[in-house]
Each structure stands twice: as structure tokens, then as C-alpha cells.
Symmetry: C3
Subunit: 137 residues, 3 copies
């Protein structure tokens, strides 16, 4: 088992960060030829998934998340705590914090147009995100 932590600086709500290259680098660093890589983001206002990392898709994905958790409504979380990030929590729980990707030939086995992405969903302008990476095999 190989364990490392990936730190990503984000710059505001709705930012989507392509972490495919970092995932690839970590898998290589682990020396694992065949196995799995698990990525888990700590915190409850960000999420991990895969997508085609193309500006159009990113914009469409943000719009879709806002259908479930729109900007202009009252959130019980905000009424209680005044954080203003009620919608961020909802989106993060729906998408989820973890993803497990197979490793083959020493590389993450992604599709050609499939990138691993971090969704920054919180409303604060700058955050440092921690992704715990575990390679097994």
C-alpha cells in the first residue's frame, strides 16, 4: 500500500480542477503496476468525480448541480449558522467524496476523454483542499 496526500489550492465556488496528472504522478510514484487508486477528499463542501475536462461540460455540470441546490433559495444550514454555503454542502453530498480507479500497466485506467476532477463547491474565495490518495495492489 502506498499513501500520500495531494494538496490543491482552489479559488472559489464552482471551480473544477483537473487532478488527472497528479493522480498519474502518484500512481507512478507508488510503483504499482496492477491495482487500484482510491482518492478521498476531506471536508464536506467539495467532491470528486470524473468528466471530460472541457469548458462547456464544466459549465453544464455547474448548472445541473444548481438545479438540485439553487443559489437564490433559503437554506436551513445558512439560517442556523450564517455560513452561506448551504448549497455547497448539498452538492458535495450528492456527488460524493471518493472515487476508486483501477491501475494497469502502472497508470490509472481512465478513458481517453475522462479526467479526474475536484469540484470546489464552497463559497469562500480561497481554500486549500486535501485529497488522500491510496494505491493498493
Amino acid at each position: 500500500m502506498f499513501r500520500t496526500t495531494l494538496t490543491v489550492k482552489t479559488h472559489g465556488e464552482g471551480e473544477i480542477v483537473d487532478i488527472t496528472d497528479e493522480t498519474r504522478r502518484i500512481v507512478r510514484e507508488s510503483g504499482t503496476e496492477e491495482g487500484l487508486v482510491n482518492l478521498f477528499i476531506t471536508g464536506s463542501t467539495a467532491a470528486l468525480t470524473t468528466t471530460e475536462f472541457e469548458p462547456g461540460v464544466l459549465s453544464d455540470l455547474k448548472r445541473a448541480l444548481s438545479v438540485a441546490a439553487p443559489d437564490g433559495i433559503v437554506y436551513a444550514h445558512d439560517s442556523r449558522w450564517g455560513d452561506g454555503n448551504g448549497r455547497s454542502h448539498v452538492k458535495a453530498s450528492l456527488v460524493g467524496p471518493s472515487i476508486t480507479i483501477p491501475v494497469g500497466g502502472g497508470e490509472p485506467m481512465l478513458g481517453t476523454w475522462q479526467q479526474v476532477v475536484l469540484l470546489e463547491l464552497d463559497v469562500r474565495p480561497d481554500r486549500t483542499r486535501t485529497i488522500i490518495c491510496t494505491v493498493t495492489g
Copy 2:
């Protein structure tokens, strides 16, 4: 590998149960210092995710799930089977049944405000839920 089953009694649609303490206990019981814990809920009308376990967030999350699967519409599942839980199935498939969390220093490596939760989505007043827990490392 350490395997155990967590049984949780739920009390109706929309209940969200914090299973972080149980997850922690199971990881300790496994004696695993570094590895992963996988949680999988059997059944197709409940789901697992992480969130800040705070009443406001829980209420906001329930509302968001009802955007995709509202209470007042006709479900094809209900028309065929009369179960009345068409919306429960939809929500469960969207959120998903499994989550994999890294283990470090003998503990699940969650964020400070990040709890592991079971979403009871079925309409029956009382259910016993089974979560299969697998710790590897």
C-alpha cells in the same frame, strides 16, 4: 482483511443516521493502522454518503433529493407494484450504496466537519438496515 456487518434501525423516510462513531469503532476493532474501509449498504432504497451532520444541512439535503424525485408525482414503479417508494429507489440510485474511506493512524481519515451518514429513503416507518464493512490494509 477485516469484515463485519453493521445493523442500523431506521424510523422512516428522510431519516439521516450518523454512522461515524460505528465506523471508527469498526476500524479500531480491525486493528488496521493504514488502509481503507469500504462501507456498502444492501438494499435499493437507502444510500451512504458524507456530510456535516447538522440539522440544517440534513434538511437541505432532503429538499434537494426531492427536486430530482418529488413526492407528488406518479412513479412508474408505484403504478406497477403499489409500493409507494418509487421516489426512494430513484434517490438511492443517484446517491449510491457504497463509500470507501482511507484509514490512517488507526482511524477513518475524515474531515473535522465530515460525518459518514446513512440516508433512509424508504417510506416504511421502521426498517433494519445492513451495512457491510470491509477494512483492508
Copy 3:
């Protein structure tokens, strides 16, 4: 660790394919008695989850995905690339590409009414999908 690839032919947008039997076959082929099976679909316009494989539920699930990503709106992805599958990308990212299921007694430990499904979300009439299956334990 046992690794194999499952190839599934799909026949258009919204098709939901039950891959439970194939998953079961692969777990048996691996000879693993206790462990985990990870399924990962390559590509960014399909997804994996679990559901009760019953026509009513499948139709309800498709409707719910169309709430977040409706048919009749303009997608930035389509405006840029003309693929017409902007909604497919959005749905795939929301549901996610991977699922990890416990293995016990040489079988995937699913609920009685819980099947593993591939969601074909792309708009092309025929696709060949690749699911990478990894059994550990």
C-alpha cells in the same frame, strides 16, 4: 488480485443494463471467497450504480436524471463541439463511474432486490462499453 474487462454493447440513450450476473461470474472466476470487487466504467457518458432492476424504477430513474439535465435546453458542450451529448456528460458525472461491492462466500454481497447496472447516457445509437473489474481479497 484478479483483473478482467467486461465488454457491454449498448443500444442508445437511457438504456440500463443489468450486469449483476456478469459481476457474479467474474467474482466466481476470481476464486475470491472474501474481499471486494471494484467496477469502473471508462468514458465520460456512462455510469454505474445499483437499483432494483424493474422497468418502472428504470423509467423513474431516467426521468429524475432529466430533471438535472433536461433534453430541451442549450448545453455549452454542444454549442462548442456539436456532439449533442452535453446532457450525457452531466448525468454521468453526477452518478459516477465506479462502484465497490463486498464479496462474501464467493459472491457479491448485494441485497435481494439490488442489481448492479450500467447506465448508457450517450446519444449515439450503438456503443461498446468497457468496465474494468478488479477483485481483491
